[in-house]
């Protein structure tokens, strides 16, 4: 490796030949950020090296996961090409794989969860930060964060034994009777399915959304609230114009982080989704998500192409969650900046 021939003691930059710019850039980069630390004692240098190593290992790990996922899914990528993303037959027996049903299932359940958890999460944050007496806020805030500590398999069990029977016997028949003419609420009532998954996911992402939103509300300076109070705003109006309006992008960021969590959530969803890789309009119908199809079929996948297809589903999921989280971070970052300005 040509990067090892540069000594860490060499403080002067070394010109890299233009022809080897890829490796050359990487080498300069590593030398500059990992190895070079002019004018420091050995102990500091060594510690700095360890700290940087730890920092860079995260990036390396991410890159390795990505590389492995691409490698593992190569057979599927070669066989199905782009059509993997938009065909809707998922048939392990005939070895035909199209990921659209599981992508659809993931998006529907996640956005349903976001739709339910968003208003509730933001409402909780408003209550805790703006309305509740301090002691109530501390206790309630703690309890809500506890919700995030419940293992997802426990949510799944609750979903199977409590939520799904309730939906099957009470809620869904009633909805089908009253709103069944809308395709979204068509029968039959299975109990398990997209709706149950969306509800469970909503429960799981409420703590994420409410705790991040609460932190954002906390960054709003007191003089912003006083501006609205002094103009004769009621409590609700103060919240609306000084708190909600000022933290719009931060709230979006929190919602996106919640969405990111919902997209990747596996165990609880696998237990209540119904496991059928099919696109059906009704929210009450069983489906399959990207995460649940991997969890369900990985152990039983016998053919190479089946394994590769599952790996490619993993790759797509990785890509989607990465993008969502990235967008969320940008929004939250922007929010922080506009507050400091």
């Amino acid at each position: 490796m040509n990067l090892l021939q540069y000594s860490p003691r060499t403080h002067t930059p070394i010109a890299i030949p233009q022809t080897t710019w890829r490796i050359g850039n990487l080498a300069t980069f590593i030398r500059k950020h990992l190895l070079q630390s002019p004018g420091m004692r050995f102990g500091d240098k060594f510690f700095l090296f360890l700290a940087r190593l730890a920092g860079f290992s995260v990036i390396l790990l991410l890159a390795l996961i990505l590389v492995y996922l691409v490698y593992a899914s190569l057979p599927a990528i070669q066989k199905f090409g782009v059509s993997f993303l938009y065909t809707s037959t998922w048939d392990p027996v005939r070895e035909v794989f199209g990921a659209l049903p599981v992508i659809y299932g993931t998006l529907v359940t996640s956005f349903l969860a976001l739709f339910i958890a968003g208003p509730i999460g933001v409402g909780i944050a408003l209550f805790l930060n703006e309305l509740a007496p301090k002691r109530v806020a501390i206790v309630a805030g703690f309890l809500i964060e506890m919700l995030a500590a419940i293992p997802s398999v426990v949510f799944g069990l609750w979903g199977i034994f409590v939520l799904a029977p309730f939906l099957r016997e009470s809620f869904q028949p009633w909805m089908i009777d009253t709103l069944g003419f809308i395709p979204l609420f068509e029968g039959p009532a299975y109990g398990v399915g997209k709706f149950a998954s969306g509800l469970i996911l909503a429960l799981m992402i409420i703590p994420t959304i409410s705790s991040i939103t609460k932190e954002i509300f906390k960054t709003i300076p007191a003089h912003q609230r006083e501006a609205a109070i002094a103009l004769g705003g009621t409590r609700w109006e103060v919240m609306k114009i000084s708190v909600l309006k000022a933290s719009r992008s931060g709230i979006f960021g929190a919602l996106f982080l919640g969405l990111g969590r919902a997209l990747g959530e596996t165990m609880a969803v696998t237990m209540v989704i119904g496991n059928r890789a099919q696109i059906m309009p009704s929210l009450f119908s069983p489906a399959q998500t990207m995460a649940s199809v991997i969890a369900n079929e990985y152990a039983e996948a016998t053919s190479d192409i089946h394994m590769a297809a599952l790996a490619e589903v993993g790759l797509v999921l990785f890509g989607v969650t990465f993008l969502i989280n990235f967008a969320a971070r940008i929004l939250i970052h922007r929010m922080g900046r506009s507050q400091n300005a």
Binding site: K134, H223, E226, A228, L231, T234, K245, A341
Partner: protein
């Protein structure tokens, strides 16, 4: 020029303000005459800001804070049991030390924010009032061509005048100003002092200031606060030339503070 026949607009009797168990304002009797500028001066921590924040019932919004005593706005007791603090604040406007326009709103939206809170939606009325308030706040000429740009694009001094315009838009009989120029440069400060002298035709002003020259320049009456008590209250010209209290004299001549 002091008009001795002008009526009383605001009057406090035995006003006390607490932060928890800590008594910050220790029973103040205070009078404000209509269409005058009353300055409140005193060293840091003397309770002058706390006092002024009791006048529009903003003090009680701080967790653990409360006020006792009476404050009368003309013929109503603003601390009466059945008085809605929201209605008090619509009659007694306030401008703060740090300019605090609403960051997500345009200049125009900021000026009419208080009117919208009061339930006024009529567009022509909002536009007229915005122009009039911005003119009174000596800002109209600078912003008339960019009313729909974000308020945060203005300079600090412009933002402070925008906040004054926003408060004037709801047409309060009384305007409280809590060190409105302490974060501003001298030019912005002098603009705001000029506009104070202009708007006192329409509104009665109580201004807290750190700056004794400012008090001398803009006010008709001055109150000197020390350790939560009102030490002396008189016409500004007398306060700065023949103060009755020894402590006032020491403060206005710069012996402490």
């Amino acid at each position: 020029m002091v008009d001795h026949n002008s009526e009383l607009v605001l009057e406090t009797k035995g006003l006390k303000a607490y932060f928890g168990d800590n008594l910050a304002v220790r029973g103040v009797d205070f009078k404000v005459h209509s269409n005058s500028v009353t300055a409140i001066i005193g060293p840091s921590g003397c309770g002058k800001s706390t006092f002024i924040r009791c006048l529009n019932r903003l003090h009680e919004e701080v967790p653990g804070a409360r006020a006792e005593g009476s404050v009368r706005l003309k013929d109503q007791d603003i601390y009466a049991k059945d008085m809605d603090p929201v209605m008090v604040r619509r009659q007694i406007g306030m401008v703060f030390q740090k300019a605090n326009p609403f960051p997500g709103m345009t200049i125009f939206e900021n000026v009419v924010a208080g009117l919208k809170l009061a339930g006024i939606r009529k567009k022509s009325f909002l536009e007229e009032t915005a122009e009039r308030s911005l003119t009174h706040a000596a800002l109209w000429d600078e912003v008339k061509n960019k009313l729909h740009q974000p308020a945060t694009s203005l300079s600090g001094g412009q933002q402070q005048r925008l906040c004054i315009a926003r408060t004037l838009a709801i047409d309060p009989p009384v305007l409280l100003m809590d060190e409105p120029t302490s974060a501003l440069d001298p030019i912005s400060t002098s603009k705001i002092e000029e506009l104070i002298l202009q708007i006192k035709k329409h509104v009665t002003i109580v201004i807290v200031t750190h700056n004794m020259q400012q008090a001398a320049r803009v006010s008709d009456y001055t109150a000197f606060f020390l350790l939560g008590e009102l030490v002396e209250f008189d016409e500004t010209s007398k306060m700065f030339t023949v103060p009755k209290d020894k402590r006032t004299e020491q403060y206005v001549t710069g012996k402490f503070g």
